[in-house]
Symmetry: C2
Subunit: 108 residues, 2 copies
Amino acid sequence: MSGIAKTPEPPYYAVIFASERTEGEKGYGLMADKMVELASKQKGFLGIESARDQDLGITVSYWDSLESIKMWKEHSAHRVAQHKGKKEWYQTFSLRVCKVERHSFFEM
Amino acid sequence: MSGIAKTPEPPYYAVIFASERTEGEKGYGLMADKMVELASKQKGFLGIESARDQDLGITVSYWDSLESIKMWKEHSAHRVAQHKGKKEWYQTFSLRVCKVERHSFFEM
């Protein structure tokens, strides 16, 4: 699942999730991996990209429609993770829902 | 410039840049910092978020319009960096231009 997502031709949708973690692991890595695995099985999922350093984490997931994003947002296991995220894992986060209008890829 | 970008109310635009680096530093960090500083002075720049780990780097820059994105893409110093990026720094990269339709922020 790592690396650059191979998405189909635009238009499609992106959810940009940026977050600053609290101190300590508190089961975060395990849950994050589980959520990526679960998201990738959802209807309309097109791909995911993720990077984290000491300052910030950014995860971008790609979807075929706003409806698929809504379904994933409301998925029961994801809701449990969202709740733990607000309670324990994240100091701050932002969520942005975007329509991808064009893309390009480069390979050396 | 680090952390979560404080952007105005949508709609606005996002450029999602994901990249896998080649081996070795080769002046990358210095140029990356310079580009962030220069981008932030451009007309229509709204903010930037960046994270990199061993697998992937993701930088999302936010802009008021497609016109501002085009101007930045064509900025002469940025074009020099783009050229070096393809020649030396990046194994692969993707660029996605998106319209941000909604956003939300959480603070603990």
